[in-house]
Amino acid sequence: MFEDFLYLLRRNGLKVSLTEWMSLMEALEKGLHSSSFTGFYYLCRCLLVKSEADFDCFDRTFLQYFRDVPFEQEVSQELLDWLDRPDVLTDYANWDEEQARINEMLSEEEIEQMLQERMKEQTEEHNGGNYWVGTHGMSVFGNSGLSPKGIRVGGQGMHRRAFRVAGERRFRDFRGDNTLDTRQFQVALRHLRQFSGLVDLPATEFDVDNTIQDTADNGGMLTVRYKKPRQNTVKVLLLMDSGGSMDYYAQMCSALFQAVSKVGHFKDLKVYYFHNCPYNHVYRTPNLMSADALPTDWLLSNLSSEYKVIFVGDAQMAPHELMGGYYYGRDRQRDPDTPKCGLDWLRRFRNKYPNVIWVNPSQRPSWGQYWTQTYDTIAAIFPMFPLTVDGLEAGMKKLLAR
């Protein structure tokens, strides 16, 4: 019927399957759209879209596809029912070319505001004009008007309402690529799990299969067997950039931190802080006081390579902070293996840990070369993901992939 709509939805990234499409056809056959365009919109939405994150995408596609569909037939039928006046759409006596053009230019908001003003002023019935709320006229509101654009006053199921609903795009905030709250981060972090029964825990779970087997072997005398519980074996090392340009993202980073610590299903979780780039020390607190400092070497030699490492930072700093110079210069040694700059430290992390990602709350700067320099350098070492729900999920998958 309008299969193009299916393909348009799929092209816009909504994975609508044939099963769902067939359900829609079945629903239309059963008249579940209650013969109205608005009903059709809701029917499509609840059968084809399965997440509020996709509502916005659906609204846009719907607008795009159905914008130019001719409505005359359907509307005239509705109007006849509602107004019970058979002459409605054949009465073009009041058509005014110029007024039509003016009305065409008005935005939805302007019309709405004009309507509110008019409602306050108007005290009597008007039909056929181009100013008041009434029927048969050229004004932008009222019933059975001739204006190319406008608001119908009174009555239900006008054909434009679906556009108004879709056009409002109320679900913009639910899109998956938005940064959202702790709860959603937690959901993303739950992807990071690997269950195993081979952990050093006492056998506390009742093992039905072996109990039956052993009881049978034992000639029917009950022999109870226990097994070790399955547990998540993922260990996480979280390293967070703190201070400076990261202050803009403080709320988002704290949300991520809370989510990571609240999920609580990791076998081990270590959190340390650094400024811009880890050098020979990392810190236990975000204030980066020297009393809380911990040698990065110690970290690298004591945390085994099974830890999954997540860096959080905007990766934007002065190039010398990453490539060497003042920040690292003072305790440089002659030993060629000693890291000489932040970049060397990052490489050490990469060489030690097979699973490292960098999560970035900021986007790649679109202006100027200066800030993109370090951004691109770091993105070349570690797979970089944006700090959004989608980005975090993709990052978690990357961490689990061998």
Partner: protein
């Protein structure tokens, strides 16, 4: 065909009613998502009352397995019984107990089955139910019997979006997202719960409530169930409506987190 038109004690917006009716006609499970406290669970009760059907609730916990909903074969009991030679050990059916889904299938009349908070269970849980929800039947290998639904139950599933649900599962559902009600709808909902509430108090309560919800730094926004508790507290305490917006009495009923309490207090000074 029965149709759902809301209920005296449950105010549903037209979109929701439409979704419920679509799901019932197409005989597909209805998946409901929405902010906590928007009445997802209440919906099933309202439908059950409106259509005068029995409601079977299957509460999902993190340890729930799909199998639990179908039937449980109590091996251990049988093992114990066998040791003491209790009569009827041969009869396996005695040890097969139907779960909630099984009960819904075997019910004499059409029932409403609410699978509450499906996202609490393991990631694989929804996939394990695909066949059963599609065909409305399952097989019990222990007794060699197949349980087939006498009347297809109306299945309502709620989710708090804690976990992604698998695509194959979603494809079979009708989806509806309950939005947070706007001021008028919320006023209507409140009136349903408090039919003789003072209008002055209601206006003040709603104003304070939406102002708190709109504070940008609020972490856990108060929801419908909280506003109802709050009004109850205000009525019980006999608070003067004029004080409500100014002072926000009984703030603890409305806002549950310490940080949020501090935010509200700071903004109200």
């Amino acid at each position: 065909m029965n149709e759902f038109h809301g209920r005296q004690n449950y105010v549903a917006d037209p979109e929701l009613m439409r979704a419920v009716n679509i799901a019932m006609v197409l005989q597909k499970p209805l998946l409901i998502k929405g902010e906590p406290g928007t009445g997802k669970t209440m919906l099933a009760e309202a439908i059950a009352q409106a259509l005068d059907m029995e409601l079977i609730i299957w509460n999902i916990k993190s340890t729930t397995k799909a199998q639990d909903g179908l039937y449980v074969y109590d091996v251990v009991q049988r093992l114990y019984d066998s040791q003491f030679g209790t009569a009827g050990v041969d009869n396996i059916e005695k040890y097969v107990k139907l779960g909630k889904l099984g009960q819904a299938f075997t019910a004499e009349k059409q029932v409403i089955l609410l699978i509450d908070e499906i996202d609490k269970a393991d990631l694989e849980f929804p996939n394990d139910l695909l066949w059963e929800l599609d065909r409305m039947e399952f097989h019990i290998p222990e007794t060699g019997k197949t349980v087939i639904a006498k009347h297809r139950p109306v299945v309502i599933i709620t989710s708090n979006a804690e976990k992604e649900l698998p695509d194959a599962f979603l494809r079979r559902c009708v989806f509806h997202y309950i939005e947070f009600p706007d001021k008028e709808l919320l006023a209507e909902i409140v009136r349903v719960h408090f039919p003789d509430l003072d209008e002055a108090l209601l206006t003040q309560v709603l104003e304070a409530f939406y102002r708190i919800r709109q504070l940008p730094s609020i972490k856990k926004k108060p929801s419908t169930s909280e506003i109802i508790d709050w009004i109850r507290a205000l009525q019980h305490g006999g608070v003067d409506p004029k004080r409500v917006v100014k002072e926000i009495p009984y703030l603890g009923v409305l806002v549950k987190k310490n940080e949020d309490m501090d935010t509200v207090r700071r903004m109200w000074r």
